[in-house]
Assembly symmetry: C2
Homo-oligomer: 351 residues x 2
């Protein structure tokens, strides 16, 4: 008797880091950012449908490990993500991530994917999708303060989705700016390294802050920010980590993903619990106002929410059939008779 | 320039269903059940150390998908598990599961494993480890009521850990009993199929109930249960699913894993919220009493807790080096410079 192969349901498609990178090049990074932004925008439109659980965090003195689950009633997804600021000193990533989709109807997993690269893409796609709704029309200049791992992804998403073609770059470490300038050659930007945040924001319609220090920092002070700009504040994303002076928040219209999470993790952790914010999904589905005035400062206090990961996994899943960029993992036991798991194990005995 | 291979940290060892079954045969199912019971007992002894989160459940009308995380401060683990009773009608498993271990210090995953087979093994190992502490000394006869997927694992664990060598088997579906009898040939049991629960428990020192109906059922009524027995009640494991008449609970000393979870999912969901129970870990570490009297009925109201999955994953991880029964998954992005994720993606571009 030959050992029967597991049925197709026993296999879970797995997208490795290598296949994720191949997928980026197969589709092209700019079309992929655009595609991700479309999936994210679709899910913001139907935000109300989703099961929204707070992150399930396991804290230690070195960092945090989180599970971020959500479901739209048909598909369930979760992301595993860690945050360990001291990892870089040991040559490791601060953040690593992977994610899973499953069918709600059966509970069977249908996709396992690396999400370190994918999270960088979805974070940039979310920022640009939000800026499309909030930034001044015809924005072409972005200040990019913080030139770490997220900066190039932000720049390209803002280019393909919002039309940004001039970048004013600043980082406390000039080597980081040099790296970003090097990486963005050939993508059609005018690249302008700057020697202070003040200099970087001159003439910018969009200001992106994406710095990595885990502390209350003040990257931007109130007197630096002129009327009419859009601030894309994505570096402050955990308790005790902010980038903006509270006076900027007071002068701005603040837009968030999911208030219960943003009040803990975002820039608005500095503000009272009743500080007024607008939920971004309501702007997108037309039930709340976005920018109403040319002189208004709009501020996206982005911390990253489970639904964006769900959208990104959904996008990746939809590319699998055409690209074949995955491996089948034998992850689900599949006995012929569900009551005979023991028999399945016994029949696998080597002769 | 050749593309550098990811470092060893970028790889996560993955134990597939096939490799889990090979592991069972490499070690032998009985030594493996014994090994698992030892790991579980070790973790019950240091129960207080663990971060104990309730399950994170996503309910739908068809079933439930749960994440069960825990941590001992050095290692973090979680299990993904679904429960979809209607799946069997479609030829699918009611329950599928996989699990992960990670290092708390770095947040990096160190093991991904199938857990459908492993959960069956750990459930049996837990039952037998508990029975070792609570069942009458010298027990040799077990009644096994419910002869589904868990029955053979329970029988073998009770044999290797408690010395059970005579099994009295009953299931509402005789075909299930026949399957269990067939599967347990050659393991040294006297196998006695019975035509009623009443008949099955005659002469048994241990009574295991493991039926699958999702409803309030009464597999055992009070007048059936004689003095001095140990009841291993593991079939009732979700709200609305119980197996025992409440009068049996009143007459018994009830032992549980984690009271907040068992009061929702276990047999004691039928009882008032202050119904007295003993936490099993306290019996094992000597801070609470187990069996104190030959005529006492001890009852383990087992629902399955995250720490048991953690112990099982820890056991599997410790076997990997010697057996090599795993695949390396390229799951963690590993740029040479953590700030240059984009550069890593760009360098992977096909020429």
């Amino acid at each position: 008797m030959t050992k029967p192969a597991p049925s197709h349901l026993a296999y879970v498609p797995f997208v490795s880091v290598e296949n994720m990178m191949k997928l980026v090049h197969h589709i092209g990074i700019e079309p992929m950012l655009k595609g991700l932004a479309e999936y994210i925008e679709q899910d913001f439109r139907r935000w109300d449908l989703f099961d929204k659980t707070p992150r399930v965090a396991s804290h230690s003195k070195e960092g945090v490990i989180e599970l971020m689950p959500t479901s739209d009633g048909e598909v369930y997804g979760f992301k595993y993500v860690n945050g360990h600021p001291k990892n870089t000193q040991e040559g490791l990533q601060t953040v690593t991530a992977f994610g899973l989709l499953a069918t709600v109807d059966t509970g069977y997993p249908v996709l396992l994917s690396e999400m370190t690269v994918l999270t960088a893409l979805r974070t940039a796609a979310t920022s640009a999708m939000v800026a499309k709704h909030l930034a001044p029309k015809g924005s072409r200049v972005m200040a990019m303060i913080g030139n770490g791992a997220q900066s190039e992804f932000q720049a390209l998403a803002m280019r393909v989705i919002c039309g940004i073609d001039r970048l004013r770059l600043y980082d406390i470490d000039r080597a980081a700016t040099d790296k970003t300038v090097r990486n963005l050659q050939g993508f059609g930007f005018t690249l302008e390294p700057c020697s202070s945040p003040q200099e970087a924001i001159e003439g910018a319609q969009i200001i992106t802050t994406c710095t990595a220090d885990k502390q209350y920092a003040t990257i931007l002070t109130d007197n630096m920010v002129g009327a009419g700009v859009h601030i894309n504040a994505i570096g402050g994303d955990c308790p005790g980590k902010t980038e903006l002076h509270p006076d900027i928040l007071t002068r701005s219209s603040v837009f968030v993903e999911y208030p219960p999470q943003t009040r803990i993790e975002g820039e608005i952790q500095q503000m009272p619990a009743d500080f007024a914010v607008t939920e971004m999904w309501q702007v997108i589905n037309g039930t709340a106002k976005g920018r109403t005035d040319d002189r208004q400062i709009t501020l996206f206090d982005g911390v990253g929410f489970a639904i964006e990961d769900f959208s990104a996994l959904r996008y990746v899943r939809d590319q699998l059939r055409d690209t074949g960029l995955y491996q089948d993992l034998d992850m689900i036991a599949d006995p012929d008779n569900p009551r005979d798991l023991f028999g399945m194990v016994q029949r696998a005995k080597p002769r």
